[in-house]
């Protein structure tokens, strides 16, 4: 039986009267897991709690066998979890290279960090833009830079919140290849709205709805699930409205 890298038990967050997240979830080491769900399902809130960017209300998070509930973000990162937030958060005024260098340096030090950053520039295809300030990058390029920053420190678990937002179909295919490559070395959880993307990823899918796990299974199973179709395409039709 594969190692459980992440075990989440009754993790809860309230915003005022709204229960944004209340869920149990386990992820095996080596998985490439997709997390889907309509707008406001609580996916980003869940990610922020995992990574330490936001304190959970109650419940526990175990990562690599340790209880990391309520840890500071930098300690979670040092234990080997990295995150790409939903809102673009590259360091705009630093160069592309320095963004990656900073992400690699805490783990590998200055020199080795520079080498890792250069290698990652190749992987994400931004070598030619290495010395431009990150703010000059296009939307898609920023997303790749974020993915690069999330993976250059060789984390055990990578959380990616909507990495293909704003990408063209071609760019998205490239991103799928990139994720599969990252998945060779790390467990990946990716939040996405695009069904084509999720089909291409072809990993296990968890559906969130109103803060809870609504369904879980392969993409085929999820697509056959009438309940899932209802929450996506039912009243309000969030999915279609989006973008």
């Amino acid at each position: 039986m594969p190692e459980r890298i992440l075990e989440v038990a009754s993790l809860t967050k309230h915003f005022g009267g709204l229960r944004a997240v209340h869920l149990d979830l386990t992820v095996d080491a080596g998985e490439l897991r997709c997390l889907i769900g309509p707008n406001g399902a609580g996916k980003s809130t869940f990610f922020r709690m995992l990574s330490g960017a936001m304190r959970p209300g109650s419940g526990t998070v175990r990562f690599r066998g340790r209880d990391i509930t309520g840890w500071d973000a930098f300690r979670v990162a040092r234990l080997g979890m990295s995150i790409k937030f939903q809102v673009a958060s590259v360091l705009e005024e630093l160069s592309v290279r320095d963004n990656l260098h900073l992400a690699a340096e805490f783990r590998f030090g200055n020199r080795a960090g520079q080498r890792r950053a250069a290698a990652m520039l190749e992987v994400i295809g931004l070598t030619e833009r290495a010395d431009h300030p990150a703010t000059w990058l296009s939307h898609g390029e920023k997303q790749w830079l974020e993915i690069g920053m999330a993976s250059v420190g060789e984390p055990a678990l990578i959380l990616l919140d909507e990495p293909t937002a704003g990408m063209t179909a071609e760019e998205m295919k490239k991103t799928v290849r990139l994720l599969k490559r990252l998945n060779e070395a790390a467990t990946v959880i990716v939040v996405e709205h695009d069904m084509n993307f999720i089909r291409m990823i072809a990993g296990r899918v968890t559906v969130m709805h109103q803060g809870e796990v609504f369904a879980e299974g392969s993409m085929e199973e999820i697509e056959r699930n009438d309940g899932v179709r209802d929450i996506y395409l039912g009243k309000g039709s969030h999915y279609v409205v989006r973008r």
Binding site: S51, G52, A53, D72, A73, F74, V76, A77, R78, S82, I83, F85, S89, V90, L91, E92, E93, L94, D98, H101, L102, A103, E105, F106, R107, N110, M149, G153
Partner: protein, 402 residues
């Protein structure tokens, strides 16, 4: 391949340093004295640039560390100078006092999970509390050894009338190292410009050290914090520690400026903690440019010059008899405003500059220098060198062309 000798940086360094090195020979000692205090304020402003411009933490009361450095240097220096003939302990003590105060305040601010927004208020409160305290030290009981705090009148060394020792001032920086026949005093007067060169050397040193700091991890993380603190934390950096470390270093630099100030004027009083000085420091940085390490120096020099210039000029000293009543009124008003409210004029000029150039004056200047590098190299630099060479020849050997 980048040609080092022709880079803009080398050029800027030459354009600044050659004249500054020549000043003691090219002008009367008064000029060196005035420039020294501009540079001291520049060092203080640089410490604010470091944490405000680079780490994004506004410290309105950076003067607290300046004042503590000055008072600690004064208290230790006054007590030790007559016994040991040097101020080594006072130099170290001033630095340590400033760094320690900054470390304690920084610890509570950053580890206490207080939002950075409050840093400006907390540091301002700190400097104002110190101001109130320093003002209240006028009584006889406020002494450390022979150092009297002196309340509003400032710190001095208490003499002993029974032994015929008069009151004395804070000593200039004085070193007496093993192997030296007698102590050496860094003073600025007709005979010596050593004090001036000490301040110039300290400015260059601090500038170089800060530049280096910004290139190593500490500085890169600091810039990252300014850009997006949560992101930097999620990359594995304990941002509290980096802010704390940077704040402490900036405090020590401000303390160094305070030491140099007390040694330069041989005097310190509570004004160095006051609101006026605190806001001047912020203005130096804003005017010079928050993102440029030279900005604080440029800002301090501009304000210093403007202040002394406005103190001297008398516009419309004589009003022509045939002026209309309106003209008369305007001229009279102009003269009065400049004479009696120079701060108003200074403020107006500042607001104008800051509105026109939101990054301050230094970045556009350095862009100009980069654009016209050839001209600057082959025309401006030689003109500057010739001008100063002529000044030196004129003042030292009376070879004056005009």
């Amino acid at each position: 391949m980048r040609r080092v000798w022709s880079s803009t940086e080398t050029l800027a360094a030459l354009l600044l340093l050659l004249p500054l090195l020549a000043v003691p020979w090219a002008f009367k000692p008064y000029a060196a004295n005035v420039l020294a205090v501009y540079m001291i304020y520049g060092i203080l402003a640089l410490s604010l640039t470091l944490i405000w411009g680079y780490a994004g933490i506004m410290s309105f009361g950076q003067t607290a560390f300046f004042g503590i450095g000055a008072y600690a240097y004064g208290a230790i220096g006054l007590n030790w100078i007559n016994r040991t003939q040097q101020t080594h302990a006072a130099l170290v003590g001033g630095l340590v006092a400033a760094a320690l105060l900054a470390a304690v305040v920084g610890y509570f601010m950053f580890y206490g999970r207080i939002s950075d927004v409050y840093a400006s208020i907390i540091t301002l409160a700190l400097t104002l509390v110190l101001f109130a305290f320093a003002v209240s030290t006028g009584g006889d009981e406020w002494v450390i050894g022979v150092a009297r705090f002196g309340g509003f009148n400032g710190m001095f060394g208490q003499g002993e009338s029974s032994q015929n020792i008069a009151n004395f001032q804070i000593p200039p920086v004085t070193v007496w190292l093993p192997g030296m026949a007698e102590p050496f005093q860094f003073k600025i007067n007709r005979e010596s410009a050593a004090g001036y060169f000490l301040v110039l050397g300290a400015s260059v040193l601090v500038y170089v050290v800060v530049r280096w700091l910004l290139r190593v991890r500490l500085g890169r993380v600091a810039i990252g914090i300014r850009e997006n603190e949560a992101r930097v934390a999620s990359l594995g950096y304990d941002t509290r520690f980096y802010k704390f470390a940077l704040f402490t270093i900036a405090g020590a630099i401000a303390g160094l400026a305070g030491i140099l100030f007390a040694a330069w004027g041989r005097f310190v009083n509570p004004d160095r903690f006051g609101l006026g000085f605190a806001s001047s420091t912020v203005v130096y940085v804003l005017l010079g440019g928050r993102t440029s390490l030279l900005g604080g120096f440029v800002g301090a020099a501009i304000i210093g010059y403007l202040t002394s210039y406005l103190a001297e000029i008398v516009p419309f000293a004589t009003i022509p008899g045939d002026a209309t009543p309106w003209m008369r009124f305007l001229m009279e008003a102009g003269r009065r405003i400049v004479r009696e409210a120079p701060l108003l004029v200074q403020g107006a000029v500042l607001v104008g500059i800051v509105l026109a150039l939101e990054d301050g004056v230094t970045p556009p200047l350095s862009r100009l220098l980069t654009r016209y590098r050839r001209w600057a190299w082959w025309v401006l630099l030689p003109v500057v060198v010739l001008y100063f060479a002529h000044r030196v020849a004129c003042l030292q050997a009376d070879w004056c062309l005009f």
